[in-house]
Amino acid sequence: MRFDLTADQRLLRSATADFLADASSLAVSRALHAQGRSVDRDTWRRGAELGWTSLLIPEELGGGSVSGAGLVDATILAEEFGGCAAPGPFLPVNVVAAALGQASNAAAQAGLLKRLLAGEAIATWACCPPGGSWDPAAGAVAAVPDGDGYRLTGVHEGVEAAADADAFLVLGAVPEGLTQFVLPATAAGLSVEAMGSLDLTRGFGRVAYDDVRVGPEAVVGVVGQAQQAVERQFQVAVVLQCAELAGVLDTVLGFTRQWLADRFTFGRPLESYQALKHRFADLTTWSHAAQAATYAAAAAVQDAQPDAAQVVSIAKSYAGQRATDIVQECVQLHGGLGVTWEHDIHVYLRRATVNRVTWGTPGQHRRRLADLLGV
């Protein structure tokens, strides 16, 4: 939990927390999952009114932050999403919104931005190749020039909310270099196939491009020069997923703390055993450290600090690892109850595990950090 919120930020947080507690409780999420769905359009549209989609879009395009630091504001909401293990394409929509809003030709996508802002459209970010790589720059699909446009061929995997998306921000490779395109879900030759997901509350999919024709108006930014923008989108995505983990930790440590007080063995509460007190002190410390790293990363990316990429990888490698460590320790503290389907802790463990792996595992981020440090 952040301690340094302004009054406006506290309002932003409490509005979303109250809304999610009602409209997106775990009971609701479990029911959605039972129906094989992960996104509820009506919930998303109402959430958009609370600012879920506007924070990373510049004011002149209809967006706006509450503090002037949009990414910091967005992490406040991401924490709430993590804290409720809420579905809702918060991460991909905001990454796409930031990408479109910051593009040199942002006006060209004003229509889509407006629909994203209103919560009427859902967009997602497609850039990872099939297999194990989360390096966005390695996942570009072939984009062959064709008249004034391009023809795209290839596959992206691990695309969050793919089955629900109305539009895709697709990374392609043209002869000049990396280029991003916006494609409607209805584009001829584009197909989406749902993938199985460990996460109860978020779906992923495979997007295939079979000679998909795009016009010049689909290009985001400058042809061949998407590298920096993609790196920034990657940083935004990692910061938001770390913030989700921060929220997961507050919730799981909160109910586990309560469990330790309520559960009695040998005539005394679990919280009175020094062995358990000390373990919980460790978990609390790791959680504060993961959160400190996450907020440092949010500030570094927000301010475009020169070492932002390093800070982001430090945050992900630590928070990604520690979040699953902490939640699984809390499973242990719950005893047999912790490994039942009934108990909510596995919903958080699933969320934390998926966040740990997507957009780079802790190990991949350590190797990336080593590269950045010039080892």
């Binding site: 340094d4 000390h278 609390t284 400190a292 790293a293 950090l369 440090l373």
Partner: protein
């Protein structure tokens, strides 16, 4: 402050809220507003460049690794540097103006510390003089003591230390048995203190002693400000595993202390000691706003630049496992500092209780342990043996100048030949003939013991931060003279 800077003063964003009233009191922060951090930083940058020496030109005095004991000259140098900071208007940045400080905020202090990177600073005075002793005196001592001792310390004229632990009282600090018997307007102190950092160089010590043996242990203690250099106090330096001898043992025999030198209340010494422990935890984790310049504990750790050089020189730069370890090492280093900032500012703003300082302290202790292990893993045989011929290879490699120096010569000549004499490159320096990475590994638990053990930190976090039940205490409520004690 000089007159021509007064126009740059502005109150934007740097008011009292930066410094909570519980820690600093309201003294020294007038309503007139204070200089902006940016303006302060610019003045500091110019002054530092003109008045301080880069560390590599001030060799001999900084507390580098392998320094067995800091001699009198090093302490004299620190006092002189402090006096120079004072004369230049950059001493006691977060201490109130009426006690000789600048009355500025932690943000100003951070800016100064950032600007002073690479310059020789009086780091010996940071802990415990400023960050623990002066901080506690500011919080709890009488007006007379504050005026006398804070200003003197800030001018570089006084070194202060702590006389807390005893051979029979460590984690259970409130069980100390040094006695203080009232005699007229004085108390007479006798007993033995131990683990007192830098006592051999000190002028005054905050000494915890028992003034009432018929009350429960916490209620019969008093804190005294004791002159260290006087007959009746004998000091012995303790040699540590890593060759250092900063810790001391003191034998106190019939030393008279005037009542006016009591800090806080008579029999109210536990409150003072608790405050010291809080400031000590803040110091250990780097969260203290009274530390100026580099953290004095950190020079005992291998820097990440040294580590990178080590990885290159030991041929592991292409090894993903070694590369990941370097990244982990660096991550821990950065997170430690972010966590200290997070916890420190939340405590100052009243959003977390002072007990939360144990979170940063616990992380710090564990991180030091892990980092010492990583350095050992990366150094391999060079961590445990001196005189390897790899030394020459390292000196000749391209990375040597970048802070590598993977050499472990047995003598000064070998060290020079290997380029370890370069102030920037003691990754494996010569420490009394021992390889430094290995020695640091041996001594790594020091980071989990000094400043209160990590076990105590876990107790504090679980009990005082999270409200879990206190551990059973067999001495609870008992008059101290009825409490069972070992020997």
């Amino acid at each position: 402050m000089t007159d021509n800077e007064s126009t740059e003063f502005g109150s934007a964003g740097f008011g009292r809220s930066e410094i909570g009233s519980t820690e600093m009191g309201s003294a020294g922060f007038g309503s007139a507003g204070i200089e902006s951090v940016q303006s302060f930083r610019q003045r500091a940058r110019a002054w530092i460049a003109a008045n301080l020496l880069p560390t590599d030109q001030a060799s001999g005095y900084p507390s580098g690794p392998g320094v067995a004991a800091r001699d009198e000259a090093a302490w004299q140098h620190a006092r002189e540097l402090q006096a120079r900071l004072y004369a230049g208007g950059f001493a006691g940045i977060c201490f109130p103006r009426e006690y000789g400080g600048l009355g500025l905020t932690p943000a100003h202090q951070r800016a100064f510390t950032e600007e002073a990177v690479g310059y020789a600073m009086p780091t010996l005075l940071n802990i415990p003089t400023f960050s623990i002793c002066c901080a506690t005196i500011l919080d709890l001592a009488s007006e007379e003591l504050k005026r006398a001792h804070l200003a003197a310390a800030i001018r570089g004229e006084e070194v202060l230390v702590q006389f807390l632990s005893e051979p029979g009282s460590g984690s259970d600090l409130a069980s100390v048995t040094t006695r203080a018997d009232r005699r007229g307007d004085s108390f007479v102190l006798s007993g033995t203190k131990v683990w007192s950092t830098a006592a051999y160089a000190a002028d005054y010590a905050l000494c915890l002693a028992r003034t009432d043996w018929t009350r429960p242990k916490h209620e019969g203690l008093t804190m005294f400000l004791v002159r260290v250099r006087q007959p009746g106090i004998e000091i012995r330096q303790i040699r540590q595993v890593d060759g250092s001898s900063e810790f001391c043992q003191e034998f106190i025999d019939g030393v008279e202390v005037p009542v006016t030198d009591v800090v806080g209340e008579v029999n109210g010494g536990w409150a003072v000691a608790s405050r010291q422990l809080f400031h000590e935890r803040s110091s250990m984790s780097g969260a203290s706003p009274y530390i100026s310049g580099p953290h004095p504990g950190r020079d005992r750790l291998t820097s990440v630049r040294e580590l990178i050089g080590l990885v290159r020189d030991s041929g592991q730069a292409g090894d993903p496992a070694g590369r990941e370890l370097v990244a982990e090492y660096h991550g821990l280093e950065r997170i430690e500092s972010w966590l200290a900032d997070r916890v420190g500012s939340a405590i100052r703003a009243g959003q977390l209780p002072a007990a939360a300082s144990s979170v940063a302290r616990l992380f710090s202790g564990e991180a030091i342990t892990r980092r010492a292990e990583i350095a050992l893993e990366l150094a391999g045989p060079l961590a445990v043996m001196s005189g390897s011929t790899a030394a020459g290879a390292a000196a000749g490699s391209t990375s040597a100048g970048a802070g590598a120096g993977a050499a472990a010569g047995a003598g000064a000549g070998a060290a020079d030949a290997a380029g370890v004499g370069d102030a920037a490159s003691p990754a494996i320096a010569v420490g009394a003939g021992e390889p430094t990475v290995g020695v640091r590994f041996l001594a790594r638990q020091g980071g989990s013991l000094g400043g209160g053990s990590t076990e105590m930190a876990r107790n504090i976090i679980s009990e005082r931060l999270l409200g879990m039940p206190r551990e059973h205490a067999a001495d609870k409520g008992l008059p101290f003279n009825q409490v069972r004690r070992g020997r």
